[in-house]
Amino acid sequence: MAKKEYAFYPGCSSQLKASASNYLVSTNSICKSLDIKLTEIPDWNCCGASVGYCEGGELPRIAINARNFAQAETHLPGQDIVATCAACWLSARESQERLDGSAQLLKETNEALAAAGLHYNGGANVRHMVEVLIEDFGYDGLKAPMKKSLEGLKIAGYVGCQTNRPFGIDGESFENPMYLDKMVETLGGEALSKYEQKVTCCGGALAFSEPEKSQKQIRDIVESAYDHGAEMIVTPCPLCQANVEVYQSEINKKQGTKFNMPVVYYSQLMTVAYGGSAKDAALDGQLIKAEKLEKIAGK
């Protein structure tokens, strides 16, 4: 039996050939090293994301999240729900807290769920993967499977918004959370703790709808990483990863910058430190190659 078992909510972006498929591959790699068993919630659905508010409204958004809870409750009883995506975690946990706090809302939600023959009793516990790693394993526990040090790698820890606000990791501040830096240091890397854009918003969904406004945000995030001597950026959020990596070439085209800053997930750093290959860490999934990390993986 695995050391820890969780009901897994991968989310739309972490599916095969989706925009964060490299997050999924590397997460699976670290789970193997840490002896974690993730079981996908059967037939899970989209959380509605934050931008779903406009058309989706309140109850439909909560009801689709409750559908996932009901599935987990029935098929994976007693297991905490773990999301890797910041937006999935946020939407699900927000729904969970609203449902915990209102018997009326729970009643209405169950009225909706009944249309599909489902029922949610309540009491789901929705957590982010980073929360699980830090709280259930601890920094020492995360060090245990290490086979290689990331020594010499200068890494800007970009926490972003939704893994940090409004819930965040217990005991961390919203303005200057330290956990990502601590994870980097645990793996032997050099965390650039003075990196001042660590909680700046990447623009979220507005990277699509308002590219000019968002690209200003992204420029600040990348520029500051360069200013502090970073060789790569690490993030726990799929949308942060995609926005900050993908739009660098656009910003270069429009603004004459020469950005070429790799943006990786913490799970990719961990996979390499745990002795995994570049393929185990899905480093072939980077648009901007993380060459220094690939080099360590190849050693």
Binding site: L16, S19, G48, A112, L118, G203, L206
Partner: protein, 207 residues
């Protein structure tokens, strides 16, 4: 004027705060705002909106219904939650802004052609169609929203990114034929329809 809007105007007359409290997500918290302005200074889109959350909340209390529901400000929300965690009175500002956006959108009063309003609608419809987001179709529909010519131009501008994502196995051209989805699609749609029915009844959206 939509029927739902007409009904709301007649029902609440000059008490817009009451209307917001009854119909907007977390609207009952609006009156807790003490006008300190921390939200205004915390928003990453600060230079772009017409009204800060602080202003919106005061305008609600002042009964400025048309100005609030026609404002572009709610659609500038990136859902970064900065305003919300910094608010000294702990107003769920992000949720209220989302709620106001939804209310204005449903009443047909939100600014027409507002890019995030359009994208948000596109996103929700894409996600619920099969129960999971089809990233390829979301991207294509977004680029081609203004018609074929501007769509081709925008898509060509982004083609190197698209190709890069495809080579990195992060974009699947086969999604044009459907892509990922939930198995019990009928049940999933039934849940949403029922939830919408309950919400519409409560918020007066039913005609």
């Amino acid at each position: 004027m939509t029927t739902a809007n007409q009904t709301a105007v007649e029902r609440y007359r000059n008490n817009f705060l009451k209307e917001v409290e009854a119909n907007v997500e977390e609207g009952h918290m609006v009156k807790m705002c003490m006008q300190c302005g921390v939200c205004a200074g915390s928003c990453p889109l600060g230079p772009h909106w017409t009204h800060s959350p602080q202003k919106i909340f005061m305008m609600i209390r002042a009964g400025k219904r048309d100005e609030v529901l026609g404002s572009d400000s709610m659609f500038m929300c990136t859902s970064c939650y900065n305003c919300m965690v910094r608010c000294p009175r702990q107003l769920p500002i992000t949720h209220i802004m989302h709620g106001l956006a939804n209310y204005a959108h449903r009443l047909g009063l939100a600014p027409k052609g507002q890019p995030t309003r359009d994208f948000a609608t596109l996103f929700w419809n894409n996600a619920i169609k099969k129960g999971r987001v089809n990233e390829l179709m979301l991207t294509l529909r977004h680029y081609f929203r203004g018609g074929l010519v501007s769509g081709i131009k925008e898509a060509l501008g982004m083609q190197s990114v698209g190709l890069g994502l495809f080579l990195a196995k992060r974009l699947n051209p086969m999604e044009i034929f459907g892509g990922h989805g939930v198995k019990d699609l009928k049940g999933f749609h039934a849940i949403i329809a029922k939830a919408k029915e309950i919400e519409d009844r409560k918020k007066g959206f039913t005609s």
